[in-house]
Amino acid sequence: MVENVICTFCGSVCDDGQFDIEQFKSKKLCKLGSSKFSKKERIKAPMIDGKEVSYEKAIEKAAEILVNAKKPLLYGWASTVNEAIRLGVILTEKVRGIYDQCASVCHAPGTLAVIEEGLPGGSLGAIKNRADVVIFWGANPMEAHPRHGMRYSISAKGLLIKDRKQRKVIVVDVRPTKTAKLADDFIQIKPGYDYPIISALRAIISGNADVVPDEVGGVSKEKLMELAETMKNAKYGAILYGLGVTQSRGRDRNIENAVKLIQLLNRTTRWVIWPMRGHYNVVGAGEVPAWEAGYQYAIDFSRGYPRFSPAEFSAVEVLKRKDCDAALIIASDPAAHFPKAAVKHLKDIPVIQIDPFPNMTTLLANVVIPSAVAGLEAEGTAYRMDGIPLRVKKVVDSEYWSDEQILEKLLEKVEEFKG
């Protein structure tokens, strides 16, 4: 039994797992984590156009595709480790392509809000120990991050907040979720009304309740007054927001407004706000390019230096505009998640896939390179949703090459071809 195994499924990155090597079975992890740590269908071997080949051959072919492309797209990265991501950024720079990562279709509006207003946040440990009020806004951790509540936010036992009784949990969402069932208070709002509701709260807290109408986005003024009062009276409050806020009407403006609400609250008490990030290292997929190239996503290197323009260089936009002539997809599945027009272009260009598991993208990839599962078969650094770094472990041996190994070789080959 291996102790303190670090789970590489969701952004919670639980680090207290156990893994029974003989039975190939994890303990203590949630259903989602356990499934990642169980035997699953794998891509059997490297392939070129469906034919099995050696790693060396597949990597050589991949390098050839990248070097021959005028502007390749290198996309994914959220489910691999920083060591691989760093090589990916350098590789993108080398081939003068476009680096983009999964956040561009999920939490990137939050990054835009950081640019507008900043991000007054705190680590999950700060929330666990101090928060007497936690609001989940458009987020449903009980289903997306099943152990989040127990470890960090709902029933977590903190130093100053001892148990669930001392913590008030509020859910704001468009429908009653599993998390809402655990909350002290559930505020159901009309879809797309996050922005006006946040504005109403700001008005009430800044002493302008008179401008708030009797009802905003399906919530009565009375209820909003009550929520504002709870927020003002919190000793240490946290808003944890999900895709319900970033991907509904208003997008980045919703979060910008929420950050302004947090700024206001901090004049009289303490509040933090933080996104509930999805994949286990989607944070790293933004942090690594930020220190290597200055930006978190949607980065174009075609001029030999990085440029950032989300409406131009994010993967969906690039594909829809047919502005890339090859793609390397790693640790993600755009064929299953991108709009039809974007996927159509992916079908038309040479695609290289690096992933442990077959998915929709495998079906359209010309070169498929299977990799080891990080956290189980390979080690490396991942950043939990709050940016806390953890070194995920290698628990079992594997024949598969790690992402890091594959990219190292690929970078080497590209350098060789470019001369």
């Binding site: 640019i115 946040g121 680590s123 220190w291 978190q296």
Partner: protein
């Protein structure tokens, strides 16, 4: 790659070894400075340094170059990223105005003749992130100082007067974070911020703990001295950025009088400019620099660094989270905050220093006053990058320290408020070239406790900068433009005996070392085992998963004490 070098006919200034502008030859082998006799039979590359200044590579002991707050700054400020410094080819693409990318940090320091830079605030739980970024900075030697002043373990041990446990904890924490020494940021104040407060004096009670900032500082100095760490306590004082704070700073500096150490200071007070304000509001604010300089000069166990603001863009980022919120409210600018577990916090706010803004001009003047009025053996040149401005403007500060004429010219451009609120216009001190070389090389190396850095004696690391300046024929008072230009771009920067830059062009990508200090042999770690296990229930990571292993670093250099 590792040539032996013969640097011929240079004019050497090496304050540590008492070399004052002497024509000398320097010999290098295997990354070290050696006697000429050692080069027999070697393939020697000769560098002609005739009439050129030869000095040790620059040592920056206090800059923010890596870690989550730096990266949050980059994320928050894409406008900082439009300056292109290097296009990808043999070297990495490098961009950034004041906030640089990691490759750009390595390259720009190198072009300027700097070879070692210390990250001055590492959140302990984020240590791995800091090291990942340090490992992405080419060329330089590096290290990081973990932050202790608001960590619950520290508050607990100080309150309980458990000195042995405090020492064991510090040794444990520095080993786990692969850190270099003890950084303290606004002791007690950041914990108070967790409930919206701050501390306003050295004797305020820290909420939830029976301790005061005074007790925290004294205990950490005592523990650091008893552990005999290379570097002393590195203190960012309480009440940063508040008019009237110079009194708190002086009180904090005087805490060092209880201690002594023959090899180095027992307290280094950092970016003192931000803690040198007299008056009681921004209307009545004035310089308290003279009093602070007097206090430091009168003590033999305290050093400071300037934290000189540079007019133009900057980004405030410190572990002093409550100050950052104050700054956000003051400027209305964007604000990021980072509360971390039970360890401390941080904040990030963009700022621009404007010459016509009375407060900014005063800050600029105070930085200069500190640099001029403090003994050159006790004050290090810094901008607290990127808080006071870019490190690339160090040559501006060097030239200003050496030339009253230059200062007079600059004073004409700034708010006249400076004339009445500071003494800068009346100061006629002009530092010598040797003093300025000391303030940027030998002194920071001594303060950090790195005997092989900052000088050119036999056995020193072959970190060398050669500048196109003949110290025997330069009038530093009048030729300030030449001084500025010269120190902007070294003719040669040599790191570990390898030529890494020449005439402002990068020559070879090289990876420096990361120093870390291992003091675990001096303590009984068993003494804190139960406390660690108990307290880690309040962490969000397991004790076994906390920290950084040496093998995860690119080029670690363990210093065992």
């Amino acid at each position: 790659m590792h040539h032996a070098l013969h640097i011929k006919n240079g004019i050497v200034i090496d304050p540590k070894n008492g070399v004052k502008a002497e024509k000398m030859d320097i010999f290098v082998k295997n990354g070290k400075i050696v006697e000429e006799s050692e080069l027999k039979g070697e393939d020697v590359k000769v560098i002609d340094a005739t009439n050129k200044l030869v000095v040790a590579g620059g040592v920056d002991m206090h800059a923010h170059i890596a870690g989550s707050k730096m990266n949050t700054g980059r994320t928050m400020r894409p406008e900082e990223m439009r300056v292109v410094r290097n296009i990808a080819n043999k070297f990495r693409a490098a961009i950034g105005r004041v906030l640089l990318t990691s490759p750009a940090i390595g390259y720009e320091y190198t072009k300027m003749g700097y070879t070692s830079v210390f990250e001055a605030a590492q959140p302990p739980i984020g240590a791995l992130h800091t090291h990942e970024e340090l490992d992405a900075i080419p060329m330089l030697d590096k290290a990081a100082l973990p932050v202790f002043g608001n960590w619950h373990f520290v508050l607990k041990y100080v309150a309980e007067k458990e000195m042995e446990k405090l020492k064991a904890f510090i040794a444990w924490a520095i080993e786990r974070t692969k850190g270099f020494g003890v950084k303290v940021v606004n002791p007690g104040g950041v914990e108070a911020w967790m409930y919206g407060g701050n501390v306003s004096s050295l004797d305020d009670q820290v909420p939830g703990f029976n301790v005061t900032p005074r007790e925290i500082i004294l205990s950490l100095i005592q523990a650091t001295e008893e552990l005999k760490l290379n570097h002393s306590v590195h203190l960012h004082c309480n009440r940063l950025g508040v008019p009237g704070n110079y009194e708190t700073t002086i009180e904090s500096i005087r805490l060092a009088s209880k201690f002594s150490n023959d090899a180095r200071q027992v307290l280094h007070v950092t970016h003192v400019q931000f803690n040198s304000y007299a008056g009681d509001s921004w209307r009545t604010v004035a310089s308290g620099a003279e009093e602070i300089a007097k206090t430091v000069n009168a003590m033999d166990n305290v050093t400071i660094d300037m934290g000189q603001p540079i007019f133009g863009h900057a980004t405030a980022m410190t572990g002093d989270a409550p100050f950052q919120f104050t700054l956000h409210r003051l400027t209305g600018s964007r604000w990021s905050n980072k509360d971390s577990e039970v360890e401390g916090g941080a904040g990030i706010v963009p700022i621009a220093y404007l010459p016509k803004n009375p407060v900014h001009a005063l800050q600029w003047a105070i930085g200069m006053e500190l640099g001029l009025l403090t003994d050159s053996d006790k004050v290090v040149l810094t901008t607290d990058y990127p808080n006071g401005g870019p490190f690339t403007e160090y040559p501006y500060i060097m030239a200003m320290l050496m030339s009253r004429k230059m200062r007079e010219g600059e004073l004409e451009k700034v708010s006249p408020f400076v004339q009445k609120a500071s003494n800068l216009p009346a100061i006629d001190v002009e530092k010598t070239l040797e003093e300025v070389i000391h303030m940027t090389r030998s002194l920071p190396a001594r303060i950090l406790g790195l005997p092989n850095k900052g000088h050119l004696g036999i056995g020193a690391d072959a970190d060398i900068a050669i500048y196109d300046l003949d110290p025997l024929n330069v009038d530093t008072s009048n030729d300030f433009e030449k001084i500025y230009k010269t120190f902007k771009t070294a003719v040669y920067t040599i790191k570990d005996g390898i030529i890494v830059a020449k005439d402002g062009n990068l020559v070879e990508e090289y990876w420096g070392k990361t120093y870390w200090v291992d003091a675990t042999g001096r303590v009984d770690l068993e003494a804190i085992k139960a406390d660690l296990e108990d307290y880690f229930r309040y962490y969000s990571v397991e004790l076994q998963n906390y920290g950084v292993e040496e093998s995860w670093l690119k080029k670690p250099e363990r210093i065992v004490i």
